[in-house]
């Protein structure tokens, strides 16, 4: 039986060791898999090689991973937000490595990772600081930068509807990086607002085909005050 539904969040992270490369979808709070981020925090996995467009905000959600000192490297396009001071401290003290790139380059590198394209050329960032040290090449008279695919051991995804095959839909601007992360991660863990019957999602309007989903959960709200649990165990 092809059934991606799981009961145990802890089980979904079993076998994932410290230093794992983890990709988290979402843009701002839209399409951000907060329940899975909390489970990642609870798993105790350290030295995370984190790929996420943003660095989170406030002290909960994604930001809690940084407060808990779990992130060894952050790959993103925009490491700002309310935890900017913390990020600055982590980076300048050498406790966290930071790789920043243009948002479209990040999206395309993740898309390439899921689609079996190891590298591509993009015009973005040519002639800027970001392209320094990178391989460049001219096509049609215009300068381009070589960028490589990004994949991950774990991908965390937030869907709107899902069925047991793992087919997903996303709501409005909560789609963003989600289908790309689903495809690029070896093990894609999904939380969905609702798990529906097979056939309830119109095949024409599946936003991420089930083949990319490995573990599927129904979203449950994370109590605001539980985000700081790590403090007791840190």
């Amino acid at each position: 039986m092809l059934d991606r539904r799981c009961d145990s969040l802890a089980q979904a992270f079993e076998g994932i060791g410290d230093g794992a490369r983890v990709m988290v979808a979402g843009f701002g709070e839209a399409g951000r898999p907060n329940m899975l981020i909390k489970a990642l925090l609870d798993s105790g996995i350290k030295d995370i090689d984190l790929i996420s467009n943003n660095a989170g905000d406030g002290e909960t959600g994604l930001a809690a991973l940084f407060y808990a000192g779990r992130v060894r490297k952050l790959t993103c396009s925009f490491p700002r937000g309310a935890m900017r001071e913390l990020a600055m401290e982590l980076v300048t003290s050498g406790r966290m490595e930071l790789e920043v790139m243009p948002q479209g380059t990040l999206a395309e590198r993740i898309r390439a990772g899921g689609c079996g394209i190891p590298a591509f050329y993009t015009p973005t960032s040519f002639g800027t600081l970001i392209a320094e040290g990178k391989e460049t090449r001219h096509f049609n008279g215009r300068g381009h930068v070589l960028e490589t695919a990004i994949t991950a051991e774990i991908g965390l995804v937030k869907a709107h509807k899902a069925d047991r095959y793992g087919n997903l839909t996303f709501e409005n601007l909560a789609r963003n990086f989600n289908p790309l992360v689903a495809a690029a991660a070896t093990c894609t863990i999904v939380e969905a607002d609702e798990i529906v019957e097979l056939g309830d999602i119109d095949p024409n309007n599946v936003h991420s085909p089930g083949i990319f989903t490995n573990h599927l959960f129904t979203t449950r709200p994370v109590p605001e005050d539980s985000w700081q649990d790590w403090k007791e165990t840190a």
Partner: protein, 223 residues
């Protein structure tokens, strides 16, 4: 000795497809495998023109020409099917997401090389289609073919003489005479039809064959 029919090969191959796999059956003989998927296993069929969850051929009266497979034959969709454009479809293929692809074959070599798209490197009208992407991308390539060409020529060769579809990608070969794994040490026969000797099978093959300790009866698990 009675070699398997095409349906017999399809039925035997189907036994090796695991529950929960996403599979692409190449155009031609591999399409037959869909008719023999073991009961109790949920196997999703991919067609490279943009679907996961392909169902059986429809009744004549239910044909809808927006529902076709890569061979341009009418299909149906199962519950839980998904549709996508060609870029995502080949993203699924190239990105290594399909657990299995079954392809037809002209020639297979012990290093896993497969030739299945052209008999002549100078064909003025080469037709590649999606086979090269499938060969390069699927997690496993099984090849389904008659053991010998119509003229009796061997298809298991020490090296392919026809243009390659993919280099070093075949995992198993299913023929009308045997099942042959492609290992780091070359061809390893695991199943044979009754009444065929190892020497006869070797005589019908160009490349050297090794034989596993116990050889299964090929007809045991074929229709």
């Amino acid at each position: 000795m009675t070699p398997l029919t095409r349906d017999g090969i399809a039925a035997r191959l189907a036994q090796d497809i695991q529950d929960g796999w996403h599979v692409n059956f190449g155009i031609g003989m591999p399409e037959l495998v869909a008719n023999y998927l073991p009961e109790g296993r949920e196997i999703l069929l991919h067609s490279e023109n943009g679907i996961l969850g392909m169902g059986p051929y429809p009744d004549e009266k239910d044909i809808d020409w927006t529902l076709i497979n890569a061979g341009k034959k009418p299909i149906t969709m199962i519950k839980g099917a998904s549709l996508f454009d060609h870029a995502w479809s080949f993203g699924i293929v190239r990105g290594g997401h399909l657990e299995l692809c079954v392809l037809g074959g002209y020639q297979v070599a012990p290093n896993g090389d497969l030739a299945n798209w052209a008999r002549d490197a100078d064909d003025p009208l080469p037709a590649i289609g999606g086979a090269m992407d499938l060969a390069a991308g699927a997690q496993r390539i099984y090849v389904m073919m008659t053991h010998n060409a119509n003229n009796g020529a061997a298809k298991l060769l020490t090296s392919c003489t026809y243009p390659l579809t993919g280099a070093g990608i075949v995992k198993k070969v299913f023929t009308d005479l045997a099942v042959i794994e492609v290992t780091d040490d070359g061809f390893l026969v695991t199943d044979m039809i009754p009444g065929l000797s190892r020497e006869e099978l070797q005589a019908r093959s160009d490349a050297p064959l090794a034989f596993s300790d116990t050889i299964a009866d090929l007809t045991d698990r074929a229709a």
